[in-house]
Amino acid sequence: MVERTLRLGRFSRRFLPTAWARVAALLLVMMLVLLVSLALGRVMLGPGALLEALMNPHAPTGLIVRELRLPRILLAALIGAALGVAGWLLQQVMRNPLASPDIIGVTSGASAAAVSYLAWLAVPLGMAGLPVAAMLGAAGAALAVYTLAWSHGVTPLRLVLTGIGMAAALGAVTTLVLAISPLTTTLSAYVWLTGSVYGANWSDVSSLALWCVALLVPLAALMRQVMLAPLDDALATGLGLAVQRHRAALLALASALAGVAVAWGGAFVFVGLVAPHLARRLSGYSGTAQMVLALLYGALLVMLADLVARTLFLPLDLPAGIFVAALGAPFFLALLIREVR
């Protein structure tokens, strides 16, 4: 692999052209999936009809393509991207390939909060508060895990174990709420717990996009520290990392990314675990390229899952979360098996 260096005055970066060629290829695949998703559904559109629907605001199918399908596909992509980056970041910081937003309690905190909201507050307060409740749940759980794991600073192993304990406890809360909640919320709660982008609109897309940008900017500034995080504490300190402070900041960023994704899409599990592995195992690159690949694989996974969920069992429209694992798991296992050989 030929590595190049880019210099512009004081700014210098090393980069691998092959890695970024891979990123470009993946973007191309995503565009293709986007176009196919726009064309497929209750009304199947040919290339010409799709172009007309996109270009002409008065086309009869324009509403379906531009107001129903496009925001839904983009929301799926954003959710997948945020979860992919969150999972990748957690795996770096925790030095553990099993780390993911599901395991350290973020998803379960958001789930417990969202299900409680659906059960008791959705009727008096309306559904607009649901993302807020889910975000507060995610933040609360992440903070609780961090505080409980604290003993003269936190170590990755303590964090993982505390997170697993917290996830189990919050899972019990979710089940309890489902069992005692008044009636009909149960169905919407199950859909939420599976993860779904049904009914996405443009304001959902712009809110989540804004959150993602707001969280990715500080992450970009911290990339050097992210690269040092997997190293041994002593080594990282020697290379200029303020281990505890940076670890706390990166964990907060990862939790927030996963929290906002889950707030708008429900408890999509598995994306945060599998997307970083796909990025790592399919390419072998490290650094920023790996993060961008994790982002793209995450986005692609949720986009494909929703495409399948929306079209495979027409006229039924199933929650995309069902198919994330259905698509991701075989691929993941195949990768592992290939690696063992």
């Binding site: 379906i64 959705a122 169905l187 859909v191 609109n201």
Partner: protein, 312 residues
């Protein structure tokens, strides 16, 4: 079901046979001209996204262009099938297919905040939306839809008709029960794995309250639409002088559970079973329909029961 227009005329005392001119004049006076005529050349294209809205649209004399799948006997409740033959299905009440709704290019969508708040912005992008707070208040649903469809009079006449029938039926019930009236009542829904006790706030609960029934002690103390009973040990919470019992579906599992419940000593010890005042009623009319036509079917069932009692 009697033709609502005929009924409307009989209620305001018109002669049953009228000339076309008189008929049109009377219809205009009543404000029940078909909406297309009032709204110019644009026909109303209503999509109803919950069962009570579908029922109410039919009650108001309007055939929706799209309806959601029914909970029982899908895709459409048997009592609505003649009125809704050939109507497009737009998916489930809990998750209607937005693309199907868009394809119908509706001029009005009737939804409920309880079920459709999340998709409200998208629905509003497709057509004007009548958003009901919940799905249990058949009067509110009927009046809001009557208003939105320009059929306020028709809605008012249906309400008058309902009140008149309630007054008459209440008198018959009082005569039937004599000094025991008002009797206490329980509205029981038997499902495959649980029993629910519906409360005064529920859809049929409102009708029973209007009829003057007294609620069982547990229902009087509870709030909300219904309570789930924990199991057979909680059966005494249903204690009342009269039971209206629904089987949630015709499945063998429900029949099996109902048999087990009704043969249980705790069931047989309660007042209604002891005195034979257990009336089995249709779940579709009593909890699932959610609209005025369902309510009228409930009144029919109570009247039929009174007649059976009078014979025996």
């Amino acid at each position: 079901m009697p033709d609502p227009v005929d009924t409307a005329f009989s209620m305001v005392g018109c002669a049953p046979r009228l000339s076309r001119r008189h008929l049109l004049g009377a219809m205009l006076a009543l404000g029940i001209m078909p909406v297309p005529a009032l709204a110019g050349s644009r026909p109303v294209r209503v999509v109803t996204l919950f069962q009570g809205a579908t029922d109410s649209a039919v009650a108001l004399g309007i055939t929706p262009v799209g309806v959601v799948r029914s909970w029982q006997d899908p895709p459409i409740y048997p009592y609505l099938r003649p009125a809704l033959a050939g109507v497009t299905m737009v998916g489930l009440e809990t998750q209607p297919s937005l693309e199907d709704i868009a394809l119908l290019s509706p001029t009005l969508i009737v939804a409920s905040r309880f079920r459709h708040e999340r998709i409200a912005p998208l629905l509003e992008g497709l057509a004007p939306v009548v958003m009901l707070a919940d799905i249990y208040r058949f009067q509110t649903t009927l009046e809001a839809m009557g208003h939105a469809l320009g059929r306020e009079r028709r809605a008012a006449i249906l309400m008058m008709q309902y009140r008149a029938r309630v007054v008459a039926l209440r008198a018959r019930l009082a005569a039937h029960f004599g000094a025991r009236w008002p009797v206490t009542v329980s509205l029981i829904d038997i499902r495959a794995d649980q029993v629910r006790s519906y409360l005064p706030e529920s859809f049929a609960g409102r009708v029973l309250s209007d009829l003057g029934f007294r609620w069982n002690a547990t229902a009087r103390e509870s709030s909300g639409v219904m309570i789930k009973l924990g199991g057979v040990e909680s059966l005494p919470a249903l204690e009342a002088e009269m039971f209206f019992v629904m089987r949630h579906s015709g499945s063998p599992a429900v029949a099996d559970y109902a048999r087990r419940l009704m043969s249980h000593p705790l069931w047989q010890r309660m007042q209604a079973p002891r005195t034979g005042q257990v009336v089995e009623v249709d779940a579709v009319a009593w909890i699932l329909s959610g609209g005025m036509l369902g309510v009228l079917n409930q009144l029919d069932e109570i009247e039929a029961w009174l007649e059976r009692e009078a014979v025996s």
